[in-house]
């Protein structure tokens, strides 16, 4: 909806807010679709590299047991896996992109609030972003 003339807010601020809404909406949609395409590509590559996964039942048990599975979890491991064209690392990259999508949305919101000169919300948004970064550190510490 275009901003109406009798709207109480000044039209340029309303227009700015609208631009931000469109940007955030596009970012979320592109992020989800792109990361899931990467995930699917990784699964396909994995099955191409491991033809035995189609008929052997050996590996499946591992997926449902409580042991900590041996998949790449650090940037170094993922980067090495990607260089070797390993399907597993491609899947993990896609999943990380998916997790990063809302984080990126928060980061963009900081600039949006700066653009609207809304300093209280700049601070609020930075706090949320800080909590999100803490989550990876906390996971490492308790893992």
């Amino acid at each position: 909806m275009p901003p109406s003339a009798e709207n109480s807010q000044p039209p340029d601020l309303d227009h700015k807010a609208r631009q931000v809404e469109i940007l955030i909406s596009t970012l979320l949609r592109v992020g989800v679709i792109a990361s899931l395409l990467v995930v699917i590509a990784g699964v396909v590559v994995t099955f191409i590299h491991h033809p035995d996964y189609v008929h052997s039942t050996k590996e499946t048990a591992r997926l449902t047991t409580p042991s900590r599975a041996d998949f790449p979890r650090t940037i170094g491991e993922i980067a090495r896996g990607l260089r070797e064209g390993e399907g597993r690392s491609i899947v993990v990259t896609g999943l990380l992109l998916l997790i990063a999508t809302p984080v990126l949305r928060v980061a963009v919101s900081i600039f949006a609030f700066v653009y609207e000169r809304d300093w209280k919300f700049v601070v609020i948004t930075i706090v949320v972003l800080a909590v999100l970064f803490c989550s990876f550190i906390l996971g490492k510490a308790t893992g």
Binding site: L63, L95, S135, T142
Partner: protein, 284 residues
């Protein structure tokens, strides 16, 4: 079962969970976790890890549409996300400390609550003598949204911000603990406590779910609970299912069918409780 069959089965069951979740307005996570643990005997931690990723996918997809339709209150969402993300961190941390069977028990309780919540009469109270709130004024949380059915802009005022904030911390905690979106806790916090219009509450809740889930997903990923070969088919399946559900069928209105589903969900909740309370040795 071969890995290929396992992947395809998870994909299939996740599509079904996504369709059902979107029909009932519950979200896919709360349905996919019992499916993974009770049918496929996936470890609860891996099920939670896979579910939280699927929650990010579906909520971000839905949020994109709601934001475009100007249904979301971005300022309320941003402010309350401080509470939900802190809650999610607490929940994700606690889930590693709790014995697995307690996760089944808590899950059973939350599932039963969410199912019964579907009977809640959602009366529109927004706008009717909303108490003044200095904090809401200072943060400029009051807003308006475009209502399609009446073709006009509807202004509303926000109140009880500290109460909403506290409830959101609990909603975030449950989300982080169980790997679900916990929209059934977020929406009442906004429409009952903070007096946002129902449509705005639903849209804003959906918008916040993605960020809340990202906070606990970070913990789960770093801890190694997000197994790529469980999370991949589940995330893709739930998203496909939720999209199909919203495109083809819309929200389920029929009271009898809803009642049947509520009974099924209560039965599943009983199964989760039973598993949590009885199989001490089998579950870590």
């Amino acid at each position: 079962m071969t890995p290929l069959l396992f992947t395809l089965s998870l994909f299939g069951i996740s599509i079904a969970a996504g369709v059902l979740g979107s029909l009932l307005g519950l979200g896919g996570g709360i349905i996919v976790i019992p499916a993974l643990t009770l049918i496929f005997h996936v470890d609860m931690r891996f099920a939670i890890g896979a579910s939280i990723v699927s929650v990010i996918a579906t909520s971000s997809g839905a949020a994109a549409a709601y934001v475009r339709e100007r249904m979301t209150n971005l300022r309320v969402a941003m402010f309350l996300e401080i509470a939900t993300t802190l809650g999610a961190l607490t929940g994700a941390y606690l889930s590693a400390e709790l014995a697995g069977r307690w996760l089944y028990v808590i899950f059973g309780v939350i599932l039963a609550y969410s199912a019964l919540q579907m009977f809640r009469k959602r009366q529109e109270k927004a706008g009717e003598n909303v108490p003044a709130s200095a904090l809401a004024d200072r943060l400029k949380l009051h807003a308006s949204y475009y209502d399609q059915s009446s073709d006009r802009e509807i202004a509303y005022r926000v109140t009880h911000v500290p109460l909403g904030f506290a409830l959101m911390y609990i909603a975030g905690l449950v989300s982080g603990l169980l790997g679900i979106g916990s929209g059934s806790l977020k929406v009442p916090a906004m429409d009952l406590a903070m007096r946002l219009p129902i449509k705005v509450s639903t849209a804003t809740s959906n918008f916040m779910i993605g960020v809340t889930a990202a906070a606990s997903a970070g913990v789960y990923f770093a801890r190694g609970d997000i197994d790529p070969f469980i999370a991949a088919p589940v995330a893709a399946g739930v998203l496909v299912g939720a999209t199909l559900g919203s495109l083809l069928l819309g929200r389920l209105k029929n009271h009898i069918i809803r009642t049947v589903f509520v009974i099924v969900l209560l039965w599943i909740s009983g199964q989760m409780l039973w598993k949590g309370l009885h199989f001490h040795a089998a579950i870590r």
